[in-house]
């Protein structure tokens, strides 16, 4: 008799736990407002990343097409993956002195791990992390970018 009661109670208890589980899923079934998923490409306009989001390395230019990069190469040294290459050139300043300036700041997004070490190490704050996160391209070569815009110059008040 005892075994029979135990047998029936195991069945009932088992059914009870099942009903409890169903209560949780049922709770959410009837509350479609709690849905947390987003429809990504549709909500592109409203989608805003956090201000520290590390999407890619960019070099901000002001309205006169001036940047802050002196071409010192510290970011290149700090990069663990070799995704930054600095090509410098010598120009002559109006005073007649020879000066080393940046020719091309080459950035391989395909090799970048977005570790933030270059941005942290940059003494002049010339490069920052961008917010863009949609990096898919058709061709791998498009991932290699030149960060300084053509014809851009060093800002006046940046110390070397």
């Amino acid at each position: 008799m005892k075994a029979l009661i135990q047998y029936i109670s195991t069945i009932l208890q088992g059914l009870l736990t099942l009903v409890k589980g169903m209560a949780v899923t049922g709770h959410y079934f009837f509350r479609p407002k709690l849905i947390t998923t987003q429809q990504y490409p549709e909500n592109r306009q409203t989608l805003k990343m956090f201000d520290r989001f590390r999407g890619e390395v960019i070099m901000p230019h002001d309205e006169n097409n001036h940047h802050k990069c002196t071409g010192c190469g510290i970011c290149e040294m700090n990069c663990p993956n070799g995704s930054i290459e600095i090509i410098t050139k010598m120009i002559e300043t109006p005073e007649g002195k020879k000066k080393k300036v940046i020719d091309k700041h080459i950035y391989h997004l395909g090799m970048c791990t977005l570790c933030n070490l270059c941005v942290k190490a940059c003494p002049t704050g010339a490069i920052v992390m961008g917010q863009k996160f949609e990096h898919a391209v058709w061709d791998r070569t498009q991932l290699t970018k030149v960060l300084n815009q053509p014809g851009s110059e060093l800002m006046k008040d940046v110390k070397e």
Binding site: T17, K20, G21, T25, R54, C115, M129
Partner: protein, 372 residues
Amino acid sequence: MSNNLQDKIETQEYIVNMGPQHPSTHGVLRLMVNLEGEIVKNVDPVVGYIHSGIEKMTESLAYPQIIHLTDRMDYLSAHMNNEAVALCIENALQVEVSDRVKVIRTLMAELQRLASHQLWWCVMGMDMGALTTFFYGLRDREMILDIFEETCGARLTLNYSTPGGVMFDLHPNFQKRVKEFTKYFRKVLPEYNQLLTGNVIFKERTVGLGPLSKEDAIAYGVTGPTGRASGFACDVRKHNPYSAYDRVQFNEILRTDGDTFGRYQARIDEMYESLNIIDQLIDNIPEGDYQAKMKGVIKLPEGEFYQRVETARGELGVYILSDGKKNPYRVKFRSPVFSNLWVLNHLIKGQKIADLVAVMSTLDLVIPDIDR
């Protein structure tokens, strides 16, 4: 005639190749499973499909650069990995970091542990066939990832610890968000229990399955919640406190059953403990610098340094052998999953295929941590 036929029939070993592409191995792990009907006779894990040679790469990198590679070992406890290397370097250089850094690191580590355990929970449910758990777990994990993203700029590969501090100061919203999260998560965790822990089918499938004794856990070096469920007191946070773990009160979750359900319950309990730790620290984050003054080029003194931290999966050891240059001479990561994996064969012999999946998910394998 019939005798003749019986002699002709050959019985072959039934070897099923689970992986490297298989829904329940959670990565490129390959298991050669020797079956007899449904019964597993032997499991031979084959690893190396995602070996990235981190230990070799570190030998040509400067110390701050090593840290971002460790994100990619156990990507679910990225912060703890970063912290381990940072602590090891600080230890070697005798740099004292500020209290603020210590507390920030502890908070981040506990959030990371929660995120990792949430992912483990939902994947465990999915392996057992309850697909809904997967979405509930991810839903809650998203909140932690948002906190990470706001402060560190990344969701998975944080690279937040640096030698001597952290990469950024805490975001002004950090405290508010974490408090929101802990309040919400304390409400949701009982739901987890209602949905999966108490379920009679789940209990039937896990209780008493694949028991691991304390002696075996120590002998096989099984650490983390997996080892603690067997009674192996291996919580590095408790026994060799680092960062701010010496100033918080928390219990080391120790269980005696050591079966699949014990390992499951140990992780659920650890989530509560992590919430406790966060609650103790979140309101009193001391002021201070978030980055100690470090030299431009970090060179470790000659010698060997070892640092142990507790990741979400167990004990991570970082062994750095330095010859005084700016690159380490040899770095070894004693990764928790590497040691935990090999106990699988010991646990699963004589059980069924479905049990293999259940046991594997309570070992909580992250494959890049095995391969490194």
